[in-house]
């Protein structure tokens, strides 16, 4: 209790009264005693790989995976049956509806972050954004705790989205930083030696650069400088990798490419499958544009089209190649959207209830976990917090959820903070 009282002393006198009440009610109180789960051992992993599809902007849940047919503001979108009795989703996702037997929908997601940047950060790292430290994302945690399966390809790849995204290596070693591919078509840029340079010449040049840098390295033995050394090593391994073909989409038969669709997202899904096949353990794809403050239904209808087509193709493909059991497919987003329609025919941010999806990787398909009330406003039962969601992914991968890892500055962190995995999903 004294810890909490000290915290109060730091706050400004102006808000003393408000805050003392809140602190006593539990805000700021952390479970400082030994957690009940301290003795839990590592679960046997059901998934080796993760394909994480991140929908940035906040996907409207009642227009997709959690429709509310009798709600006044449901709008023009209809509800359809799926191939599992009792589960219905939005008509915008017909192909996924036919594959519901592979999918688990979590309708009771809830977050405390209602703005994009903090919401995105929270979803990727399970921690609230702070100016003082960068937390690692799941891909970095996976590679750091459980290692790579392919020694020459990166263990963590991100396709699409901004280069400055959250959920990178954070305070973990920079070698866990995801390789960011701006577009799935182009393959890896600059991956071949220049035509005028052979293997021997490249080695000579690298040696010369090292020599030129000798006194510089001695003078400035900084973490960022060493990180460049690491990155050159990884780059050279990659250049010499026999698995570089994984990045070349043109090696896929046309039929396959057509099934995934011609969209950038479709190609990203196909690339993700190829990478996983070649041993890349964590691939994140970004599909943006979900921040539908204006013209919600028009935009969602448009956005769900590649989502529906390509994710269905991906699930089928993984299944027929025997990869679905060991590959966890995740569809995540930072928050949902308001059940009310605003004056621009749009929906606003809504973190208190939203939907996410899990498939493969040991997840029992054909189920819905948790539910929301009749309008989609709040969680009705089995709420799943963002850390819980990430803990579930970590659990599937067999990562030690309770292990405390210290950042270089000595602060303690866990893979999914205090999240608990939803074992009912498996």
């Amino acid at each position: 209790m004294y810890d909490e009282l000290n915290k109060l002393d730091e706050l400004s006198r102006r808000k003393f009264i408000q805050y003392s009440a809140k602190a006593l009610l539990g805000v700021g109180l952390s479970a400082s005693t030994t957690p009940l789960w301290a003795g839990q051992s590592i679960n046997k992993p059901t998934a080796r790989n993760v394909i994480y599809i991140y929908l940035s902007g906040g996907m409207s849940h009642i227009d997709t995976f959690d429709p509310k047919a009798r709600w006044k503001d449901q709008g023009p979108v209809q509800t359809i049956d799926t191939n599992i009795a009792g589960i219905q989703i939005s008509e915008y996702l017909p192909s996924l509806a036919r594959r519901m037997d592979k999918i688990a929908i979590i309708r009771s997601m809830n977050s405390t972050q209602g703005a994009h940047e903090p919401g995105n950060y929270f979803m990727h790292t399970s921690y609230a954004q702070r100016g003082t430290i960068k937390h690692p994302g799941l891909g970095a945690w996976l590679n750091s705790m459980s290692g790579k399966t392919n020694s020459t390809l990166p263990g963590n790849v991100r396709i699409g989205g901004s280069n400055n995204a959250t959920g990178g290596a954070g305070f973990l070693d920079s070698k866990y930083e995801p390789l960011h591919l701006a577009s799935p078509d182009d393959g890896l840029p600059y991956v071949d030696r220049h035509q005028s340079v052979d293997e021997a010449e490249l080695r000579e040049r690298l040696a010369l650069a090292q020599m030129m840098d000798l006194s510089f390295h001695k003078k400035y033995p900084a973490k960022q400088v060493r990180a460049y050394g690491d990155v050159y090593e990884q780059a050279i391994k990659l250049m010499n990798s026999k698995d570089l073909a994984a990045f070349d989409l043109s090696q896929e038969p046309k039929l396959t490419r057509d099934v995934y669709g011609d969209s950038r997202f479709g190609k990203s899904c196909l690339l993700a499958r190829r990478l996983v096949e070649h041993g890349v353990r964590f691939v994140e794809l970004t599909l943006g544009g979900w921040d539908t403050h204006n013209d919600n239904h028009d935009q969602v209808a448009r956005l769900t089209s590649p989502l529906d087509t390509s994710v269905s193709a991906l699930l089928d493909d993984l299944h027929y190649r025997g990869l679905l059991d060991e590959t966890l497919v995740v569809i995540g987003t930072e928050f949902g959207r308001s059940p009310e329609i605003n004056s621009n025919a749009g929906r606003n941010h809504h973190p208190s209830a939203f939907s996410c999806v899990l498939a493969g990787g040991g997840i029992k398909g054909g189920q819905v976990y948790g539910s929301t009330d009749a309008s989609g406003h709040s969680v009705a039962d089995n709420g799943v917090s963002v850390p819980d969601f990430n803990a579930t992914i970590a659990y599937a991968l067999g990562l030690p959820i309770d292990k405390v890892v210290h950042s270089p500055s000595g602060r303690p962190f866990r893979v999914a903070d205090k999240g608990r995995p939803i074992t009912a999903l498996f």
Binding site: N163, S174, A209, M212, Y220, Y228, Y232, A235, M239, H293
Partner: protein, 769 residues
């Protein structure tokens, strides 16, 4: 199409001015063999190719020496003999230092800062880092002040200069250079999330905003005035580019307010938008009370209601549509004068207007101090609340802006003083710069207080403030590692050791190819939204007509347009259906339908964007690099390489931000979606580029400026020194000379390629010492 007289007059006036304005001091009239004359400045000369810059349009041209008249030829050769005409330009790219005002005034302040730091070090029990040598200072000054490495010629000039005041003279010169604008633009574009791409670039005014921002920096508009322009802006972006500040967060006025508080007051209110802030003192009500000042400003003009002229036009268009459709109003989706009008008048929706709409607390407001849906009365976050009567939205905005930029607003001054310190030294005295709380304490509180008082005394003149900082001894000390994992180990012993930003890396490579890169400016950005073209200096047609035509005229014009629109609309629907029909896939019929669509689209676009443009006299881009003009060079000429060289611009002159996959993005440029979102992390793609690109393997080894200079050097030692000065801004060490000279003598061509590749792949190239 008849050009409106206003535009004709403007063009005429501009042409007149360019003829009458005094030209550059060293410009001269040159004559060619055919007798044609031209007024120009000499830029450089390489072998027999003379490069000069035309005064009339600032265009750079290269012509063989034998094309000039005999008199000109001897003049040019004499200039070269005197050493005033180098192979890579120096003199003509440098601003006139004599014009710099009152250099001496600020020295007292710089010394004062050093004194505060000396006291701080004593208390902390640390020794400061030593003062750097000239070579290190040279590179750092260029990178920190104008955002690029020095060119070979600039490096030689500085290192050979024996003036005792050369460092402060360099500071003055760099602050006046166009490079200063380019470098500071990157900073402010990151902070303000200014974009030229997408919706933000077109309908939300980016194409007008970015040149305006650069202009504000160029004219060194005082910071408080600058903030005031941004926050009191209203109207359309082509009339008032500052309006893009509000349009950037179209439809999200509360988000915009929270960005304003973060950027200008260093106060993070985002959490308080939805509930009482969990870790800071702000309540949700506090946030709403502040937002109530500017909530009346609406982004988005309701064409049918807000503007009486447009309201009239809308009414008439409805009449015209009914007439065409047997007395009934056609549906929204059908082509008609109404829908054509909607497309054509679209730009007029994106503007900022004052309204009297009240700000209400949200319906789920959960605290006891007020009721949900209650109107919120405006109240400032802290400090002095003016009790002047606020009659309308304009009053409210003015009142809140006055409070924000007031000298007594402790956070306003603190944030900018700290931010500029960070810009110069690499780390703020308080970090993070935009997340102040009541517990925020500067590392050196007396110094911070002094900086704040200096900012006020300088009346928020940012350039002068920067000048003071660049002239401190502290800025000249060796860089110090600040380990982000061990933040308590840094005691301000010196400026921070950091990697170049992605713009600095890109701009440095650009400088290696083109020493006068600072002169190559993009003054005209273009964007497109819904078929309407937006371009710098150009109003959309709808805006021009709104100003100049009567409602009847506008209506009859749009009604005429609606036939073209109907044709386009039909073609679009036909194509969309046909494209989805699997039976038609790849057939010539589909191709024919697509062709029809493209033609009707073209016709419709021409109606949307009639040619009202002013003459291009003002909007030229400076032209190509010298290197690309040397057709006499031996070696392969790859088309892609040539195009790359031709298109090189500084990052500030490219689209903001650059697209995915561009080198700027690979090296960590901010996506300008979030505030100051750039990073300096290493990644594999950077290493792959540096190792395997044609730039580092070929282009820079064959056609960069230092290489051209090195070819003129007489001895291998001199050549090596030239390369080092050009790429690393320093002379090679004894050990390096010893190791590299043998190669050079053995196979100079191969050695040169190897050495340059190696220099570009060192870490010392990427980091700022």
């Amino acid at each position: 199409m008849r050009l409106p007289t206003k535009i004709l007059l403007k063009t005429g006036a501009y042409l007149l001015l360019t003829i009458l304005l005094p030209t550059s001091a060293s410009a001269r009239i040159f004559t060619n063999l055919a007798g044609k004359t031209i007024e120009a400045d000499l830029v450089s000369m390489h072998r027999d190719q003379v490069t000069f810059r035309r005064t009339v349009d600032r265009k750079v041209v290269t012509v063989a020496l034998n094309q000039f008249s005999a008199k000109d030829r001897s003049y040019i050769l004499a200039q070269k003999e005197l050493g005033l005409l180098s192979a890579t330009s120096y003199k003509q790219t440098q601003p006139d230092v004599a014009r710099v005002a009152k250099r001496q005034d600020h020295f007292g302040a710089s010394e004062q800062i050093d004194k505060f730091l000396a006291k701080y070090w004593k208390v902390q029990g640390v020794e400061p880092a030593p003062i750097t040598d000239d070579a290190t200072y040279l590179r750092r000054a260029y990178l920190k002040i104008i955002g690029r490495i020095p060119s070979y010629a600039e490096a030689v000039h500085f290192l050979n200069d024996s003036s005792p005041h050369k460092r402060s003279e360099l500071v003055d010169k760099l602050l006046e250079s166009p490079g200063y604008v380019s470098h500071n633009f990157n900073l402010w574009a990151d902070i303000l999330r200014a974009k030229t791409t997408g919706r933000e670039g077109s309908r939300y005014g980016g194409v007008y905003y970015i040149p305006w921002l650069k202009d504000q920096i160029r004219r060194n508009v005082h910071y408080d005035e600058f903030v005031q322009s941004l926050l009191t802006a209203k109207g359309y972006p082509w009339d008032n580019p500052a309006v893009a500040y509000y349009l950037r967060d179209f439809g999200m006025p509360l988000d915009n307010m929270s960005m304003t508080a973060q950027v200008f007051l260093g106060t993070q209110l985002q959490c308080a938008q939805c509930h009482d802030h969990p870790t800071d003192v702000w309540s949700q009500k506090d946030f709403y009370e502040l937002a109530a000042y500017s909530y009346g400003l609406k982004t988005g003009v309701n064409i049918n209601a807000d503007n009486p002229k447009l309201k009239e036009v809308a009414r008439r268009l409805r009449e015209a549509a009914k007439k065409q459709n047997k007395g009934k109003l056609p549906g929204n989706q059908k082509p008609s004068p109404v829908s054509a009008g909607r497309e054509f008048l679209d730009p007029l929706r994106w503007g900022v207007v004052h309204t009297e709409r009240p700000l209400k607390l949200p319906h789920d407001y959960q605290y006891d101090d007020a009721k949900p849906n209650e109107n919120v009365a405006p109240k400032v976050l802290f400090g002095h609340q003016s009790d002047a009567k606020l009659h309308d939205s304009t009053d409210r905005v003015d009142s809140y802006v006055d409070w924000l930029i007031d000298k007594n607003n402790e956070r306003f001054t603190l944030v900018i003083a700290n931010r500029m310190w960070k810009h110069v030294m690499g780390k703020g005295l308080i970090e993070p710069v935009d997340e102040l709380t009541d517990e925020s304490v500067a590392d050196a509180p007396k110094l911070m207080a002094y900086l704040e008082s200096m900012m006020i005394a300088l009346d928020y003149d940012l350039k002068q403030y920067l000048r003071v900082l660049y002239n401190t001894e502290y800025f000249q000390r060796q860089a110090v590692i600040d380990n982000p994992d061990l933040p308590d180990d840094y005691h301000l012993e010196g400026p921070i050791f950091q990697r170049m930003s992605s713009e600095q890396i890109w701009d440095s490579i650009a400088t290696l190819m083109t020493p006068d890169i600072d002169q190559i400016l993009n003054t005209r950005y273009k964007g497109n939204n819904g078929g309407i073209q937006y371009a710098t200096g150009q109003k959309p047609a709808a805006a021009v007509y709104l100003d100049e035509w009567s409602p009847q005229k506008i209506t009859s014009h749009i009604t005429k347009m609606s036939d073209v629109y109907a044709a386009y609309f039909t073609a679009r629907t036909t194509f969309s259906k046909a494209n989805q029909d699997p039976a038609l896939k790849g057939t010539p019929e589909l191709t024919k339908i697509r062709k029809e669509l493209n033609e009707s689209k073209k016709a419709w676009n021409q109606m949307l964007n009639p040619d009202l443009s002013e003459s291009d006299a003002g909007a030229s881009m400076g032209m190509t690099m010298m290197a690309a003009n040397f057709s006499s060079e031996k070696g392969k000429h790859n088309k892609a390489d040539d195009r790359w060289i031709k298109g090189i611009r500084r990052a500030s002159e490219l689209q903001s931000p650059q697209s995915n996959g561009h080198l700027l993005e690979v090296f960590g440029q901010s996506d300008r979606m979030l505030i100051e979102n750039s990073d300096e992390k290493s990644n594999i793609l950077q290493a792959l580029f540096l190792m395997n690109s044609s730039q580092t393997n070929w282009l820079l080894a064959q056609r960069s400026a230092p290489v051209l200079e090195a070819r003129l050097a007489k001895t291998p030692e001199a050549k090596l020194e030239t390369l080092y000065l050009g790429f690393l801004a320093r002379k090679p060490s004894e050990a390096e000379m010893k190791a590299l000279l043998p190669y050079f003598k053995e196979d100079p061509e191969k050695a040169r390629q190897r050495i340059i590749w190696a220099m570009l792949n060192t870490q010392q190239f990427l980091f700022i010492q």
